[in-house]
Symmetry: C2
Subunit: 211 residues, 2 copies
């Protein structure tokens, strides 16, 4: 079954829905990824109704900029692997803590399962919105904090380590409250963000990364 789709505009695919996203500077994407939120990954084509969604905890920023680069581990044991190979594009979305149970469930069911839950988008009340720039989509939902649209930059590590180097080409954050991310300690044990400690005044050697 095709998911609910909201017609998008070229550079603002989010203006027609309740949850609105604003574009976010690519050179600041590391601020979203470096703390290591559990991520949702959307692969496949919305147009061809092959799009899939999964959850990952193994990822990192590899370069801040020029260009920003993100590594993710996504292996042939995942249904999304063939989709990432075929389309060479994906969207990384950051869920907030209200989605923690759903994120674990997303990571524990497969689009390949021939059961009534095969359409994960519908099951988890997520909306796949078209993006014009690349043949992919944006993940929308009441608890999606950000989306980072990526293209595959380097596949040199895929065969040996199932690791993909991705280059963000566009990013969005949710309008309104920033929300609370969560991290994976393994075994389905999640931990939310707690106290924020601003030590930016001590970053004397890294002035180029301060606002």
């Amino acid at each position: 079954m095709a998911p609910k789709q909201t017609p998008g505009q070229a550079d603002d695919p989010c203006t027609n829905s309740v949850v609105q996203f604003d574009t976010y500077p690519l050179e600041h994407v590391y601020r979203l990824v470096e703390p290591d939120p559990v991520l949702l990954v959307a692969t496949g084509s919305l147009h061809e109704v092959t799009h899939n969604i999964m959850a990952i905890g193994f990822h990192m920023m590899m370069q801040h900029e020029s260009p920003p680069l993100i590594d993710i581990t996504l292996g042939p044991w995942d249904t999304s692997f063939a989709l990432l190979q075929k389309y060479r594009t994906c969207v990384l979305a950051i869920p907030s803590v209200e989605m923690a149970s759903d994120v674990v469930d997303i990571g524990n069911c497969s689009a390949a399962d021939a059961d009534a839950d095969g359409d994960k988008w519908k099951r988890f009340a997520l909306e796949a919105r078209p993006i014009q720039q690349v043949a992919t989509l944006l993940i929308a939902g009441p608890h999606i904090l950000a989306n980072i649209e990526c293209v595959v930059e380097d596949t040199a590590f895929v065969r040996k380590y199932a690791m993909w180097a991705l280059r963000p080409v566009k990013a969005w954050t949710r309008r309104g409250e920033p929300g609370t991310i969560f991290h994976h300690r393994g075994q389905g044990i999640m931990v939310t963000d707690g106290e924020v400690i601003d030590l930016s005044q001590r970053m004397v050697e890294w002035q180029e990364f301060l606002d």
Copy 2:
């Protein structure tokens, strides 16, 4: 100046000091690293008094096991780069939130600086303890939660991306309270761990990673 050194024993370098560490199973190291604590990295040789310490935020688990593999970004702009190239071993240590200011300061001063703060070990009241297995050391201090001794597994990504694939060969966690880790949002903004949410009962597809 040589740091304070505590004589160690072959497989238990920590029994002679106030802060005691117990060995931690290598196949569970991902539980320490996947949530993405800010890490301290020790490189160089304690014996030759070339050991150095720095802080990193760009790292990930790449494989759970067989063997466990960790990627870190550490570039030629870091003094530690030449030490990692030479000795092909390092120790990743996990600091607790009480060290957040010190960790930022460690990341904002260089062993190459010809000033009175050149000996970072002394300045930050950290102890370099010998490890017998590999020519490296263990970082001890009142707010060090864990140490992961690693050898360089793969340098294929170093030239292009300054990324090192490391293989943990031994790990320790602090005896007593587990402590609170913290993450880097960039710009010196740190955030501590907050609420723990146990969703292990939903990990139906990943039983092999449950205790």
